[in-house]
Amino acid sequence: MNKKAFPFAAAKTSMSKPSRRDVLKGTAAGLIIGFVFTPRGSRVLAAEAPPPLTNAELVNAFVRVAPDNTVTVMIKHLEMGQGVYTGLPTIVAEELDADWSQMRAESAPANAALYKNLAFGMQGTGGSTAVANSFEQLRKAGATARAMLVEAAAKDWKVPAVDITVSKGVVSHAASQRSATFGALADKAARLTPPADVKLKDPKDFTLIGTNVPRMDNVEKTTGKAIFALDIVRPGMVYAAVARAPRFGATMKTFDPTASMRLKGVISVTPISSGVAVVADSFWTAKQARDALQITWDESKAEKRGTPELLAEYKKLAKTQGQSAKKAGDAAGVLAKAAKTVTADFEFPYLAHAPMEPMDAVVEIKDGACEVWAGCQFQTVDQGNVARVLGLKPEQVTIHTLLAGGSFGRRANFASDFIVETAEVAKTLPAGTPVKLIWTREDDIKGGRYRPMYVHSMTAGLDANGALTAWSHRIVGQSIMKGTAFAGQPGSIDATSVEGASNLPYNIPNIDVELHTTDVGVPVLWWRSVGSTHNAYATEVFIDIMARAAGKDPLAFRQAMLPAEHARHKAVLDLVAQKSGWGTALGANKARGIAVAESFGSYVAQVAEVSRDAKGDIKVERIVCAVDCGIAINPDVIRAQMEGGIGYGLGAVMKGAITLKDGLVEQSNFDGYDVLRMDEMPKIEVHIVPSTANPTGVGEPGVPPAGPAVANAIFALTGKPVTVLPINKAKLSS
């Protein structure tokens, strides 16, 4: 990670003449950001003129201390539920010694120089990196602002800075009994040169980090006031819906707009790169007119295979040698001579992300510039793509990153698909006409960019003592990274295809992990926890299969194979075993299953308890979770992310599947693509391992162990391993 605190280079120049405009250059002139979040509710600024620029604010790229005593933290990441509007201000407030009630969160503009994700090199959110990449950066930002407030007070009071203390937003000098608020000092502090170096707190002195400050967005999101892209209202705004090809890879050949244009309120019917767009005076009209379009598609390059054909091809490939992702010892040789070998084949379907807010954006082009309102997850990419489509420079595209109604990876794509569509439509409209483009749920479910479908073939061998001595793991499926800016050299292994498999923590002397990357016309994308969605499942379920073959307890089997360097895996397993009552009696028709996975630098172990009723139906009753994500910034947010990750993973393994017939997606909405609901949510308990390690992410790591923990509980209960997903109730009860 780049340790240079680049924002301060920019901050320095702006500090001498502090103005928002200097710091936030790259935004359209004057207009700051839409929304300011406060612990008590937001001020919505989008439709208003920005507050007058004042020189009396202490500003750096991430922190603004205003004369009204508010401290606003610029949030470079997308808030999509994971809690960045709460966690990131907590880090600043800690080093600043601010009072939580004075903290505000504001979405940062697209400006890669100031706001890039230090893990990506561009502005964007994903990979559970928000806190991890911001921790040092925001501590420094907070500490710098604090040092300047202290220096301002010291000069004002003519006392040594070292004698000044700061607590809960008040700067004090005990000996002279003087004190001042941040707001009172902001003007003077703003005139100072920021220190080149600042001392950060010893983590043992943290007073806010580690506490459960309430979510910054609680009030907006419980009163209907939170503004998502769907909610943007602009004067003269029109609405768009797009007809896209029913098969992936098809292109529009001809279209007949006659029936659509007859509908009252329809403004235009226009071909765009992804299909045909209808613009109308309401979304309802646009959708009706879209549905009335007569379109013929050129399907010469379309994907016409269905799930059965792909499955057959994948299974055939799984029997052949693949590209080596990891090789240690001689797995094939040892397997040939093993006392006992076991083979299991796994099938994973395509999965849609299906965030509650479907893809949507608002774009307005005026005077050679463009404004975008969207739940942008890759601001740098989105800005570049919109600029390219419109023939503008990236800096002429202003991005307003709004709250996103979930994403789970969907909004982070290198094509900026839904934003580019909106820009293409806006380009066809008279200058200054804002357009809101909305995908219907059907568009979303049928729209691709799925978690890829995979087949895994696994064989492992035990020696005479029941020790796991050889492990062969073949993975067959599409590459997520192929064709993206994150792709490796041509022909190289896509690390996301094998993450969770090639880095198996267990001490098995002979290992082969192989990959077959398939070429299928179905667009794929990262889906909450990426490769670990299938690799953690296959490996952790297979470990249980092998434990049973060896006649060993699944927990003891794992612990015995975890070397000292994987102490954090061991610790979460120990904690979850203790908290779940692992090994104690549960009663008839109930069983426990355990699983552990590291993803994105965080370690999570879970124990699932399942029950079976008289009809043979399985219910997940309870999941106990232990997580080690380094320093816990906000334990309650961490618990919430574990709960949500478990629910998201559970819904997928129990019910989630996108299937294709002759290249056509068979599901279209939540009736066919069923997701976890209230009555299926188990009781969840989350326990956090105390840690002094730098914080890692929590958005994704709750997902991977949930599926295998449940599958392992079902295995313990029924004796049948669950190797085909989603878990089919009929199969279980037969």
């Binding site: 299906a354 109604g405 709960e643 998201y648 949510m681």
Partner: protein
Amino acid sequence: MPTSFTLNGQPVTLDVDPEMPLLWAIREKAELTGTKYGCGIAQCGACTVHIDGEAARACVTPVSAVAGAKITTIEGISGKTAEAVQASWQKLNVVQCGYCQSGQIMSAVALLTDKPKPNNDDIDAAMSGNICRCATYHRIREAIHDAATAL
């Protein structure tokens, strides 16, 4: 043909296609955006409003069907039950992305209005039509129980 009804206590007349779903009419014509679109086929509950006090899915309710009715949206809820629900939601940090929560709260308020002390089965029955992809179900259940203690 204009349709008249009461929206959050105010009389409104909307000149829209009578077949337009109430969801789009209140979002785009009345500009009350707290009620969300999630599926359009009454499968997810994001569009839940109260029609004459009953929870209903605005995405499948044509405007013509609410002529003369009293509609309440998330922006218009008030009273002891609504305040208790919102307070418990905030106290327990229920929300994550927050997009479905208007609908969740509208369903919860309707449940608690009907049954001030719901048990878990009541909660399952009343709330399983409201999808939350962040899976905040665990906290929604706790928050409903918590709100019930205040009623």
